[in-house]
């Protein structure tokens, strides 16, 4: 198989830079595998490692520093048969830490080559996440204060199933690259190298020192048995192919007559656990069964089963313009905290507003029409107060009627829940 090196754009690294060795080794690996240029993409980010994509006659994707793994994941999900090879320096590694962890955990079939040369070469040799504290680099004393990280240990503990440390000067680098590219899952090679342009100007680092240092580190020689598992893309296909197709929503037919002639605004003011939002849904669906336009806005705290819960519903035979409520025709006041959050609405109301008030709820002074209901004495559980209030409205043909309510219940509930809701509505008396 022929070389994939781009003869029109030969490598332009500084003399003595180990990146050139990795470039050639990668070419050899791809050639040995018989991969043609159109079956591979090299994804890079910024810095000297970011030049890699230009040296190869493959697909090329050059993006923002530290984010190469994000593009690679999107490409691989879209084109599962493509060999996706990502190069990154120790700079991109530091910036894209979250993406590295995600790639290890996800196990999508990508190959990440970290061209680790212990400093930011392109910007003047500043310290990176792998710079030893004793090194003299372009960040003054700052690297003396921080502990360098071991990306192989991190990748391993983050779940990467293939992790390898090696030297740019290793004679079997092409074979190691080939094994990693072939591995069906996320593979990472931490390739130690020499930045002749910056790092070794002030620090002693030789191929021999690299070998000696690597020998003293924990063993990461490829497959990580404890992390072996199915490749993400395959698993994704497998799980999603079992899912049932979802039809677009619709299908509610208008069959009942709206008992009102114009826009009706309803506020249900309660607390979490009183099925306020569900009752708002029911009221909306009731409106749909009469062919009405409806809107529903809900207001509740992010906590579950604590705090006020409010549903504001508009039912109208005309288009609903403004979706806020200024003059409700009905307020269902079931809990103090709900009423308190809408305190400002009451002062402007008159007798045309009906308030259904649960016993014990204090309402600001207003001229509204009041219907007091002692739900507790009636033996109704708190979670049913809102539904019973809707049943009361239906019985007096205010906003909805009983046909609309029952039809809505059938749209919202199923089986035993539906039966008990229908039964509850039936039993309600004024």
């Amino acid at each position: 198989m022929n070389s994939l090196l781009n003869t029109g754009r030969p490598p332009v690294f500084c003399p003595g830079c180990s990146h050139e060795r990795v470039t050639k080794a990668l070419d050899k690996a791809l050639s040995n595998m018989g991969i043609s240029g159109d079956k591979a993409v090299i994804v890079t980010d910024i810095g000297c490692s970011g030049l890699f994509d230009t040296f190869f006659n493959t697909h090329a994707f050059h993006g923002i520093h530290g984010r190469a793994l994000t593009y690679a994941a999107g490409i691989k999900m879209a084109k599962p048969d493509l060999n996706v090879i990502v190069t990154m320096g120790d700079g991109g590694l530091g910036i894209g830490g979250a993406h590295l962890l995600a790639a290890c955990r996800r196990n999508l079939h990508l190959t990440l080559l970290i061209l680790n040369n212990f400093n930011f070469g392109m910007t003047g040799g500043q310290f990176s996440v792998t710079t030893p504290p004793e090194a003299q680099v372009g960040s003054g004393f700052l690297n003396r204060l921080e502990k360098p990280l071991d990306v192989c240990d991190i990748a391993r503990s983050a779940g990467a199933p293939y992790v390898l440390r090696c030297s740019s000067y290793s004679s079997n680098l092409p074979d190691e690259l080939e094994k990693a590219v072939r591995f069906n899952g996320f593979s990472l090679i931490d390739i130690w190298g020499i930045c002749s342009g910056r790092y070794t100007k002030r620090n002693k680092l030789t191929p021999q020192i690299i070998d000696e240092t690597l020998a003293g580190l924990s063993s990461c020689s490829g497959i990580m048995e404890e992390n072996k598992r199915k490749e993400y893309g395959h698993s994704y296909q497998e799980l999603s192919s079992k899912l049932k197709k979802v039809a677009p929503p619709g299908g509610i037919r208008a069959e009942f007559i709206f008992p009102e002639s114009d826009r009706q605004e309803v506020m249900i003011l309660g607390s979490a656990g009183q099925r306020i939002i569900t009752s708002g849904d029911i009221l909306c669906f009731a409106g749909l069964t009469a062919g009405l336009n409806v809107t529903q806005k809900n207001d509740y705290n992010i906590t579950v089963l604590r705090g006020p819960s409010i549903s504001e519903i508009i039912l109208s035979p005309d288009d609903i313009g403004y979706s806020g409520i200024e003059k409700p025709s009905v307020i269902i006041a079931l809990a103090q905290e709900g009423v308190d959050r809408r305190r400002y609405v009451f002062s402007d109301l008159d007798e045309s507003t009906l308030i259904i008030r649960a016993a014990g709820v204090d309402i600001p002074e207003s001229r509204t029409t009041m219907l007091d209901v002692d739900f507790k004495t009636r033996g109704i559980k708190s979670q049913d107060w809102a539904l019973v209030s809707l049943a009361l409205l239906a019985k007096i043909k205010k906003v909805i009627n009983i046909d609309m309510l029952n039809a809505a219940l059938k749209l919202v509930f199923r089986e035993t829940v539906l039966d008990s809701a229908l039964e509850l509505v039936k039993r309600v008396e004024i």
Binding site: G37, D38, V41, D53, T54, N57, T58, H59, A60, F61, H62, G63, I64, R67, L69, T70, Y71, A73, G74, I75, M77, A78, K79, A98, H99, L101, A102, Y236, L239, S240, L243, K244, V246, P248, P249, G250, G251, I252, A254, D281, C284, F285, G287, L288, G291, L292, N293, V294, T295, Q296, K297, N298, D299, I302, I320, G321, Y322, S323, G324, E326
Partner: protein, 372 residues
């Protein structure tokens, strides 16, 4: 009539499906989360891919990769997420990557209020990229717009190869509303033009066109994609002549075509001196007001803009030509009004804004008009 009840966010999700969206990635954030929830439910069973990224930067990065590999892609977030998207948006602008970005705006600045609406990111969406080149921003008014404008957003992203924002708002996104999807008039679907050139150059444009034809990463022909300043071949260039041509093309490909996608609703009254200009959910309150004013024999005109960027200058001039006073209403402290002032230097332009989590009410609009 076949009605359903859904949130604006659900309508965006179904609009994406109707547009042929094949890839979504997002990170949960109120009030945008239900777009992700809905797509996760409906997209994978239909053969699409829906991912939850490790953060916002990753989510949009996945979309960029998938888009350049040929899938129509969308992401959704709110203001704090747009901040994180910024570097990737710049990439999508400069490298002509088709992408739909839904910004369900919430009250800012910063973390702000997760469950309160605002239109506070209008200028941020336009100017929040390095280089300052134009993007497209569409603003829905209601649930129907959430569906239809999402489809237009995909079409525009494909046609012009650029990021397109849908500037939604919590007040539309999380409000449930009745809709008859069967009765909604849907735009014809547009797909990016696949190149048939033997000597494909990823950023070359044909005579008479300002948008490069496309081939996906992974096609038989090799494709180069880069975030760096590049020539037609996708390799870095330092040639200022090529750079200048390229920057001008990125600007002109959108700005010169704006008349073809100046979406709006307008209600121009012949004898009205006053024109209301607004956008987003505030358009609903404004419509109530002009209807009441008409009934009362004091007609007022209304222009609801649904394309905000690039600024539809010809449309605004045309609609405002008979107006003496122009009132701009925004759910922010005054952003788009500056564009209106710039375009209509001979009109008396007044601004009314509110950014406290509440909707601008018809009553407030009425008061502002009666002060004219």
């Amino acid at each position: 009539m076949s009605l359903s009840l859904m949130e604006g966010n659900e309508a965006v999700a179904w609009g994406a499906m109707a547009s042929g969206c094949g890839f979504f990635a997002g990170y949960p954030i109120t009030p945008a989360t239900t777009i992700f929830n809905t797509l996760l439910r409906i997209m994978p069973p239909a053969g699409g891919i829906c991912l939850q990224g490790e953060d916002e930067i990753a989510s949009i990065g996945y979309c960029i990769g998938a888009s350049m590999a040929g899938l129509k892609s969308m992401t959704a977030t709110s203001g704090p997420g747009i901040s994180l998207y910024s570097e990737q948006i710049s990439f999508a602008v400069g490298s002509e990557i088709p992408l739909v970005i839904v910004n369900v705006q919430r009250l800012g600045p910063s973390t702000g209020s997760a469950t309160r609406g605002a239109d506070g990111d209008i200028n941020f969406m336009r100017w929040g990229n390095s280089g300052g080149l134009p993007v497209i921003v569409l603003a829905p008014v209601d649930i129907k717009d959430c569906f239809v404008l999402t489809m237009h957003a995909f079409n525009l992203a494909e046609e012009f190869r650029c990021p397109v924002f849908l500037a939604s708002n919590k007040e539309i996104a999380m409000t449930k509303e009745s809709i008859n999807l069967d009765a909604v008039e849907k735009p014809r679907i547009i797909d990016r033009i696949q190149s048939k050139e033997e000597n494909f150059l990823p950023f070359a444009v044909k005579e008479g066109s300002m948008v490069p034809e496309f081939l996906p990463i992974g096609s038989k022909t090799l494709v180069r994609q880069t975030s760096s300043t590049h020539g037609e071949d996708g390799y870095i260039t330092t040639d200022s002549g090529i750079i200048s041509q390229f920057q001008n093309r990125l600007k002109n490909k959108l700005e010169s075509a704006i008349d073809s996608f100046s979406f709006h609703d307008s209600f121009i009254e012949e004898n009205a001196d006053t024109l209301i200009i607004t956008y987003g959910v505030t358009g609903r309150a404004a419509k109530v007001v002009i209807n009441e004013q008409k009934k009362a024999g004091r007609p007022v005109s209304l222009l609801i803009l649904k394309t905000l960027w690039p600024v539809p200058e010809n449309l605004i001039r045309e609609q405002a030509k008979n107006a003496k006073n122009v009132l701009v209403f925004e759910m922010n402290m005054g952003q788009y009004v500056h564009e209106i002032e710039r375009i209509l230097p001979d009109k008396k332009v007044k601004f009314f804004g509110q950014m406290d989590g509440r909707l601008i009410t018809p009553r407030q609009i009425m008061e502002a008009i009666s002060n004219e």
